[in-house]
Symmetry: C3
Subunit: 257 residues, 3 copies
Amino acid sequence: MSIISLTTDFGLSDGYVGVMKGVILGIAPDARLVDLSHEIAPQDVLQAAYVLAGAIPYFPQGTIHLVVVDPGVGSARRAIVVRTDAALFIGPDNGVLTPALADSSAQAWVLDRPEFRLPEVSATFHGRDIFAPAAGHLARGAPLEAMARSISDPVRLTMPTAQRTSDGGIRGEVVYIDRFGNLITNIPGSWLTGESAQCYLAGRLIPGPYHTYSEAPTRAPLALISSGGALEIAVRDGNAQQVLGADIGAPVLVSPA
Amino acid sequence: MSIISLTTDFGLSDGYVGVMKGVILGIAPDARLVDLSHEIAPQDVLQAAYVLAGAIPYFPQGTIHLVVVDPGVGSARRAIVVRTDAALFIGPDNGVLTPALADSSAQAWVLDRPEFRLPEVSATFHGRDIFAPAAGHLARGAPLEAMARSISDPVRLTMPTAQRTSDGGIRGEVVYIDRFGNLITNIPGSWLTGESAQCYLAGRLIPGPYHTYSEAPTRAPLALISSGGALEIAVRDGNAQQVLGADIGAPVLVSPA
Amino acid sequence: MSIISLTTDFGLSDGYVGVMKGVILGIAPDARLVDLSHEIAPQDVLQAAYVLAGAIPYFPQGTIHLVVVDPGVGSARRAIVVRTDAALFIGPDNGVLTPALADSSAQAWVLDRPEFRLPEVSATFHGRDIFAPAAGHLARGAPLEAMARSISDPVRLTMPTAQRTSDGGIRGEVVYIDRFGNLITNIPGSWLTGESAQCYLAGRLIPGPYHTYSEAPTRAPLALISSGGALEIAVRDGNAQQVLGADIGAPVLVSPA
């Protein structure tokens, strides 16, 4: 009984996600379907990659992660599968599977066999016609080798990484903003050693890092380690994105300890 | 193990959909529940009918489609089941099941047996008290004949259809707008023959029809065939509803080829 | 095959709910997961309690209700389980489980055993690290006695209750507003006897109580009994919250019959 996670930018109002599930269950009636997010901003491949990255460690061995954020649908971009020791990933070859490709065991495959698609493939909804059937067949136990051909050049996103500065500090940036307006950076929490680290968001000193939200005064900004293990800038009982006027890409500096 | 799809205008914040699922699983513990949409605009029976129509072909044989968009809840309107060779449909008798009734094999039934409802039936939540129990009992294998009485006069919506004009063109209209702002018309893609068809939205020439979104320049309007097989007017990487100022009912003309 | 309902204020865009489901299925692969709401207003413990209260009667015996609305995450607040004759409830000890504690069979337990958590517990996402694993282990059949320690002092919310006035009337208030803008009060419908009861919202006479929405003229305010059995003030085909300018806490009076 395979688990299939689904991540798209389709939203939940039009029935597109339900249709994909209908297709999957028609092929693999026992598959367990888990929505990761369908509220990815339209065509925001990078956001989908971050949501996927945060989920991978928490799903069981053998999970199939289906990600359809696909600005190039109908063009020549490939449909791919990435297989790691832990999971299978299905999506368009536009970099959205970069977190899977970062695994040292990752191998990429191109889905090039029409018999594992719906009989008619539209130009605008490969989630339904190509990706969902592929997930269904893999969930049902079809061997990847029969469905796809190994490739060596899957597209990878450049995901910005934090850098250590020459004076012993850290330079990073905001890479994800969640529903609560919390600003997630690309600075690994494990890089923050000692009590004396000072965090600056766009030049503004942010108190912390604290252990929990509740250590800061109400409505005050704070730094802490996110649930994903990265430096996070929040506002207690408030929305840091709004209060601090920050957006994706805002620079974050940590002064030398 | 039956599949039950759910479509409502209940939204996802109040727990109403979850309660319906609790009722279903109390009767049919093995049923597979798939959300189609719960973001139908309040009381928009026609929108629900279009979402349902787009989903029907992609669900497995025997699926039970439960649709609760029910402005007349508590009034004398009937609760009905439509059975086709492919599926079962449950909902209020207000036309929302019109896409099912369009199937030549369709038969309609009225749910008139109290023993297949919850013991107490409220005046305002038949989704929970009448429709969900009916879905559960059908999923569990209760024969429709024991639960309902055949009727010949189910309510049907008038869904506007495209017309061929005397000069060999086509006249249709926008009938659905999706989350991306794409304008779906009622003009079958199969009616568009030849390269020379020209599409006009409210008098404005729309380039195309193209095969995919990516053939148009960024931010440019285009016509193409939707994933449901109808003429669609979109804006590449943009929102056609907003950019073109069009709404449901906007006239669409295709000039003679 | 246990049913687990999930209620959070996480929203559906960030993947947090999907991650919790991944954790649960890793422990209890056969669990049936039902979303109740993930659109609880951020940190609104009282709203979550009302959503839970409305759902409890409609889920099967033995359901596990998981509720994570947790402003104090990472602080010293306890993680608890409430067991009643009908169901199990898991959540932070901040009063969100008050509707479960109102059951005369309710017993409270504190989850204090690290072996039933994820190996690493973050300071900001106990839904993933503590509550989801607890739900998974209970669904898999682990005895509560092995996972938790009985306590006698769980936190209870003060949920405002309606009062009978000395002149034979009723004084209550609006306690919940649903997606449609319907105003749900804390006045039990069973208290409204006779045809002559007159309802006032913030001093304004509201026609009714009617049996159904459709008895009132379009756009007119009306009182009726909600699907949860309480006095409700609505506007037919409209949004009572907006039309009547009312909010949570607005006083509602019922004059003597």
